[in-house]
Symmetry: C2
Subunit: 346 residues, 2 copies
């Protein structure tokens, strides 16, 4: 029998400073009846993304619409079709879409995103939101098209233990980088970077200024910086970059942190002296690269050349906590929320 | 009779903070005898450049070598050959070269730079160091190759009343920009931007934050920012740039000023959200563009479509003062020092 309602995660109020658990609540909401061409999807995994932080604010929208107090959050998710009024997408199909942060969703067939249906035999379900999802694609676009990675480059990745960071480090190596250095917070994450994610060296930004660490770990400088955080680490990278170096600007999480005012835009003088190119990017502008990306990364996965790593939290009621944990750096690799039967099964 | 000595401007000591007149001195130095293939040149005009500020410091060299206390300064100059031991460059030839900040210089024929000899009938001598010199070439390269100016763009230029700025504003218009906005310090310069240099509007950064001025003067945003100053103005431009906007980073004079610590590198979040490209450049990397540049700009000059403007100071003993004046914003257009007979002639 078709469910009439679904549990959703709502934004109760915009955070006053750092987001808190009470800013979110799980609520029951009606599900619209299935119209022609629509699908009822039961979500199995939901992606928890750093970019959600900006969407909690009231400031002008950029990436996509901002969240609205009193309304459900949304985000990337992977689910299975339970009912279909679209002949080409039968029940049982696994699909990726944008209506996460809820247990069930009614989708237009067209709302199943570019990657659309996925084949769970090719890779485990979480991987389709991680290395084979927008996360891995962001790392791939940033390295190949934005930073124009070349064989032999020395590459620096910040937030290297995060979802995009663990992908970027591994991809950089496979794309021909000579040396890959990551930054992360704390000795445990730094150890993982080298042991599990193929980094040559790791810098613990909590233990030492990144600028000092880079002087030691990359005494001849770096060619590419994949920036996930902005701020002090970007300033440090500008100093370490060699002439002609390239920076892919992807996110800048630090702009929401306490050190927001600590770094100086005039470090950009380095960009003049060393003829650097800094390019911001948003991955959805680069869909034309997706087939190439999927083919290469699926191949690397099949050959066992890269490691998929997720931090998985069970249950919709823990989803907001997973977001808060992500914003506090509590994840290694992709942060996911697992729902429904799958939470207790495989 | 060949002179045995020349007067030169020496760096006495590195400035402690802002440079002062006592950091420089005019001294008499021996001239080497002319070797085979060498030229004795009497300088007529010397270029005074903002980039000299960085060369007074002891920090690592980037653009070129730094100045050394006890030794002469150097820089671009235009002179006339007085004696020649090079058959292809007869006495009377006008040449541009790098040994300014002295009345006479002995040059290798090869040291006469790429643009080499100049034809004083094609344009007045000062113009060969200004609009037709490295100054104009910097504006041209920055607009065309680095910022990839397109017809219809709205363009912002900082330090718009300066040498590069007066060139960039005029070139931008002739290259098809739809609207050209300049920033300068004080109402007089701002009035000149609109009256003489073809700017559509000017923002006085002393009277009003540039961010506020841009909200008024470019309410729909800007496409290209030609940055000569860095700092707060760069931060303001990042806010005003439209999606896909481009920034040519050329110099960043503000990094030597008192407001060095006032702007936040995390304004670069705008580069992510709006997919901006920021590119530092140094004009000598782009010599391949020089013939195209000379042809176009000489044409514009001949047709009376652009205005050459210089601030000229007479005499080697006033050269250091001219540099200090430039660093304080005391010039409109190209700052030059005129030497010898020409100082009292045409």
């Amino acid at each position: 029998m078709t469910p009439r309602t679904t549990r959703v995660v709502c934004l109760v109020r915009r955070p006053d400073g750092e987001p808190l658990p009470g800013d979110f609540a799980v609520e029951e909401r009606p599900l619209p009846p299935l119209g022609k061409g629509q699908l009822l999807v039961r979500n199995l995994y939901m992606s928890v993304d750093p970019s959600m932080r900006g969407r909690l604010e009231s400031t002008e929208k950029h990436y996509t619409h901002n969240f609205t107090p009193g309304s459900p959050l949304d985000g990337r998710a992977l689910g299975v079709v339970e009912e279909s009024r679209c002949a080409s997408v039968p029940p049982g199909t696994y699909v990726r879409h944008q209506l996460g942060w809820r247990e069930r969703a009614v989708l237009d067939d067209a709302a199943v995103d570019g990657a659309g249906r996925i084949d769970p035999r090719l890779a485990p379900l979480p991987t389709w939101l991680g290395l084979l999802g927008q996360t891995g694609f962001t790392a791939y676009v940033g390295l190949t098209r934005i930073a124009e990675l070349r064989p032999g480059d020395t590459v620096l990745v910040s937030a290297a233990a995060g979802a995009v960071g663990t992908a970027a480090g591994q991809f950089a190596r496979l794309l021909g980088a000579d040396r890959v250095i990551g930054t992360a917070g704390g000795p445990d994450k730094c150890a993982l970077l080298v042991k599990e994610f193929g980094y040559d060296a790791a810098a613990d930004y909590r233990a030492e200024p990144v600028r000092d660490a880079l002087a030691r770990l990359a005494p001849d400088g770096i060619d590419v910086y994949f920036d996930n955080v902005g701020g002090e680490q970007l300033a440090a990278a500008l100093h370490a970059l060699r002439t002609g170096g390239r920076v892919a600007l992807c996110g800048m999480m630090s702009q929401f942190g306490a050190d927001r005012r600590s770094a100086d835009i005039n470090q950009l003088i380095q960009a003049v002296l060393k003829r650097l190119t800094l390019r911001g990017f948003i991955v959805r502008d680069h869909q034309d690269l997706r087939p190439e990306f999927e083919q290469r990364v699926a191949g690397w996965l099949a050959e066992g050349r890269i490691t998929a790593r997720e931090t998985v939290v069970d249950g919709l009621e823990n989803a907001a906590g997973a977001l808060l944990s992500l914003l506090g750096g509590g994840n290694v690799g992709k942060m996911l929320v697992r729902l429904g039967e799958s939470a207790h099964g495989s």
